[in-house]
């Protein structure tokens, strides 16, 4: 691939994420580079990915999958559903161009997380960003993600009703920039942390850590849910502002 071909490929795609493919080539994505870099640090800094198998759902253009590979993951599978399959969506092709340009080996598979089962494989780390807000049924999708996780599930999502102690989620529609010239209306949810904790515990995770988004604050939450098979040593990476929602109350 020549540099001319690369610049032409970047220009020919509609980008969801701003990926730095060359020092002088940043894909014109909706998600700005600075926010993505801050998210990457929030999501992945607590984990040692060396040699890990990683699955990303809702990968968009693969920013976090590429980051996982750079951080030493042995195998990275990037997947997306709507952004890769709605009519006119070209984000999977864009992701494959980016992987090629970055010389990073990342598998790309269109996937509806609601259809996930153990047959798909087993991953040390499963990562989902912009999670609940793009899913009509996040309960079903969480079950799917659990079925392929063998250590840690990391989720980033829109959230709401933080001040209410009752576990709850609110529904909403939002327009997404794919699936036609005018985009597509997607129906999804904004859970509060109390609900996410309950749903994750019900799925068999026994330690749940939480923090707010590094640049967007309390409008979004990040969760790391550990299965009993994950050693306690993993917790050491989750420094402030992470809080352990499952730690016994003290005092």
């Amino acid at each position: 691939m020549s540099e001319t071909e690369l610049f032409q490929a970047v220009a020919a795609h509609r980008w969801l994420q701003s990926l730095r493919l060359r020092p002088n080539l940043l894909t014109p994505g909706m998600a700005p580079e600075a926010r993505l870099v801050a998210e990457e640090r929030a999501l992945l800094d607590p984990l040692n990915l060396t040699g890990a198998d990683v699955l990303e759902v809702g990968a968009a253009n693969g920013f976090f999958s590429f980051a996982a590979r750079r951080r030493g993951a042995a195998r990275v599978v990037a997947t997306d559903h709507l952004a890769w399959t709605l009519p006119g969506a070209d984000a999977q092709s864009a992701t494959q161009w980016a992987a090629h340009a970055l010389n990073l080996e990342v598998e790309t598979i269109p996937l509806d997380p609601r259809s996930l089962s153990a047959d798909f494989g087993s991953f040390h780390v499963v990562l989902g960003t912009a999670f609940c807000e793009q899913l009509f049924n996040p309960i079903q999708a969480l079950r799917g993600l659990r079925s392929v996780t063998n250590r840690v599930l990391v989720l980033e999502t829109l959230q709401a009703e933080l001040a209410d102690p009752r576990p709850m989620m609110t529904a909403q529609n939002q327009i997404m920039p794919f699936g036609g010239a005018d985009g597509s209306w997607i129906s999804g949810w904004a859970p509060n942390p109390a609900l996410m904790l309950q749903l994750l515990l019900d799925l068999g995770f026994n330690r749940v850590l939480y923090r707010t988004h590094p640049t967007l604050g309390t409008t979004r939450g990040i969760y790391a849910a550990l299965l009993p098979e994950a050693p306690d040593g993993l917790l050491a990476g989750f420094e402030t502002p992470w809080i352990n929602m499952t730690a016994p109350a003290t005092g």
Binding site: F136, E161, R166, P167, M168, M169, A171
Partner: protein
């Protein structure tokens, strides 16, 4: 069709009835009533509220979560051509023995109502299409009610009738509360409390085009009934949907409803 009634003596019938835990109070024959957890008078008001607005004559009806079959029997008496009663949890519960209780009541009443062991989480197109789908008192007992509604949409030809516990009535925006453990009414089978905005949102997203709402005839706003119609609904199905039914799929309807607390 009415089938020949059973020939058990009153004494034998009462002895059979006592083998089961009943939820629906139903008069099986003069002087013999099942005395379930739900009183006869309450059920009569619910039947009037839930079924009287619709002309069931000649329709096909599936009752999802039928338990002892009160609403299945009511639909049959109201002229439904075919009624399929389905349940799983209460029909296989070792104390409730709901299937046996249902069959005893059906045989005693002599009503031609079919029975199928079917969990709402397993419903799919194989069960067939029904003009009317009854989903009374089940939504909030499901851990994943979104999946169940989606499945029910797939078998609804004209009308899905959802009756449910509800919560978050102070919020017009669509939402539902989760109840871990047994915090709602000390019942570990209660999972979710949706509000009217949420039910409207889900039903519209699933492709129902007209949604009507009413409060419970006795319990008020604590429980809501939603009549969700497909685009294929026949005009003759609806007899009357006047007050207290409210057209929920128009702008501001949810806010108006909540203002009338």
């Amino acid at each position: 069709m009415t089938l020949p009634a059973s020939r058990l003596s009153d004494e034998d019938l009462r002895a059979r009835m006592q083998q089961f835990h009943w939820w629906h109070s139903m008069v099986l024959r003069p002087g013999v009533t099942t005395f379930g957890g739900k009183a006869e008078e309450l059920l009569a008001q619910e039947e009037e509220a839930f079924l009287a607005p619709f002309n069931l004559t000649g329709r096909t009806v599936i009752d999802v979560g039928a338990w002892n079959g009160f609403f299945s029997f009511a639909a049959k008496r109201r002229g439904a051509r075919r009624v399929l009663a389905t349940d799983s949890y209460t029909w296989t519960h070792p104390s409730f023995r709901g299937r046996e209780a249902f069959e005893l009541a059906r045989d005693e009443l002599g009503l031609d109502v079919e029975a199928l062991h079917l969990d709402p989480t397993e419903i799919d197109e194989k069960v067939g299409l029904f003009d009317v789908v009854l989903f009374i008192g089940v939504f909030y007992h499901l851990y994943d009610p979104i999946d169940a509604l989606q499945r029910l949409r797939g078998i609804t030809r004209q009308l899905l009738l959802v009756e449910t516990h509800q919560d978050l009535m102070e919020k017009p925006s669509p939402g539902m509360v989760f109840y871990p453990g047994a915090i709602l009414n000390h019942d570990a089978t209660n999972w979710w409390g949706p509000n009217p905005g949420l039910m409207l949102h889900l039903l519209l997203q699933l492709g129902f085009t007209r949604i009507f709402y009413r409060d419970h005839p006795v319990l008020g706003r604590a429980r809501g009934t939603y009549a969700a119609f497909t685009p294929e609904v026949e005009a003759g199905l609806i007899q009357q949907l006047g007050p207290p039914w409210l057209d929920l799929d128009v702008p501001g309807a949810v806010e108006d409803l909540l203002a009338r607390a």
